[in-house]
């Protein structure tokens, strides 16, 4: 990328819509530093009271699993149904469990 005329780096934006809720991915912005990233994120993603807190994360700081690995990555949990509460047989008549 041409260094003297570019649009800055990509930052991913996460917005918490109210206290108690998790921060959720909202989209991304371009910025050259943290402060600009935060301000751009505010202007882009909270124009209508959508948030109480914003996180911005440089795109290159995010490590993602890859689609081609999703088999080896996620399938091992397929055969472990004993991790779900419905796997267990409760005695007849037991309540609140």
């Amino acid at each position: 990328m041409n260094n003297t005329d570019n649009q800055g780096d990509v930052w991913e934006v996460f917005v918490q819509s109210k206290p108690g809720l998790p921060h959720k991915h909202a989209g991304s912005v371009h910025a050259t530093d943290k402060e600009m990233a935060l301000q751009n994120a505010r202007d882009m993603y909270t124009r209508r009271n959508e948030g109480t807190c914003i996180w911005v994360v440089p795109l290159d700081a995010i490590v993602s699993s890859m689609p081609e690995d999703s088999g080896s990555f996620f399938e091992p949990s397929d055969d472990k149904i004993y991790r779900h509460p419905t796997h267990y047989v409760m005695p007849e008549g037991a309540k609140h469990i």
Partner: protein, 313 residues
């Protein structure tokens, strides 16, 4: 051979309504189709700020002015959402902007028409944003994840735009005879170009084939255009304005309005760059981009300085 199998798996995902995400394998044509469509959409949002920006300094009241400013700011935001979605397809923001400025990429032709009176702010919001909403509501279900998410966000914000436009034109239609005439004139000028926003008839549309098969587009140009007409006619009647189409008539059998022939020569002429404002729009975009160059340079220099400071510390 590998690609045939990948292509089958890809189509199976599309058919099962599973969204495609940036890191997933996709056919090169799917990627290109999306790059073209999403960037064209982004450019339209950004160029679309110009005809409305024309009226900021002459808005008839403070209320009208703050509303118009908020709307134009939204359009800038919509452009940003869409560029961000387009960038996930492996092309940079700079490349997209360069394609716009060198006329390799298009934007919606509607923005090559001038906004001559305040009533045009009404017509633009009511008709142009109204047509855009019909298209964008449909695109919320597009098969590419980032594009779909951008559309959901945009649709939430867009209905304010259409309502503010309809309020303006309704207000003028109920005003003095001169004001009503301005409202009617705005409708006369924007009606046909708004219908053209949906693109050529399905039978003449070069980009349709795979777009529908790959569920990039969920409804065809003609289907969307019909939807827009069907819901807009009544809105014109309510405010006492006449849609400038003598052939417009309710068709009981079809359950839709029949409408007159669209002037496709005009459409292609504007697409090819000969509309009333094509040159002005692009020149203004290039000027604004160049005027902002020193800001980008300064921001980059500042960021570099901060980085160097951190290294020393």
């Amino acid at each position: 051979m590998e690609d045939v199998k990948k292509l089958e798996e890809f189509q199976a995902k599309i058919d099962a309504e599973i969204k495609i995400e940036p890191k997933d394998w996709m056919p090169e044509d799917y990627r290109k189709h999306l790059q073209r469509q999403i960037s064209q959409h982004a450019h339209s949002e950004v160029i679309g700020m110009q005809p409305e920006g024309n009226w900021i300094s002459r808005a008839p009241s403070l209320r009208a002015k703050v509303v118009l400013l908020a709307k134009i700011q939204d359009e800038a935001g919509h452009g940003q959402y869409l560029y961000a979605a387009a960038e996930t397809l492996g092309k940079s923001r700079d490349e997209y902007i360069e394609e716009l400025q060198t006329e390799k990429a298009k934007y919606s032709s509607i923005f090559n028409y001038p906004t001559l009176s305040w009533a045009d702010m009404g017509a633009v919001g009511w008709l142009v944003d109204g047509a855009a909403i019909v298209n964008q509501v449909s695109l919320q279900r597009t098969s590419y994840g980032p594009y779909s998410r951008a559309m959901v966000r945009i649709c939430k914000e867009e209905s304010f735009h259409q309502r503010q436009g309809y309020e303006i034109i309704a207000h003028m239609a109920q005003g003095t005879p001169e004001q009503k005439e301005m409202a009617q004139d705005a409708l006369n000028r924007f009606w046909w170009p708004s219908l053209m926003m949906f693109g050529p008839h399905d039978s003449d549309s070069p980009n349709m084939g795979n777009g529908v098969k790959w569920k990039i587009k969920r409804e065809t140009n003609d289907e969307l255009r019909q939807k827009f007409i069907d819901k807009t006619v009544q809105q014109a009647e309510v405010i006492g304005l006449t849609i400038p189409d003598p052939d417009l008539k309710w068709n009981e059998e079809k359950g839709h309005y029949d409408f007159g022939e669209i002037d496709w020569d005009e459409f292609w002429n504007v697409v090819k760059g000969n509309g009333p404002c094509n040159k002005q729009r692009l020149q203004h975009h290039i000027k604004a981009h160049e005027d902002g160059k020193w800001v980008r340079e300064a921001a980059n220099a500042y960021a570099q300085k901060q980085k160097n400071k951190q290294l020393v510390a």
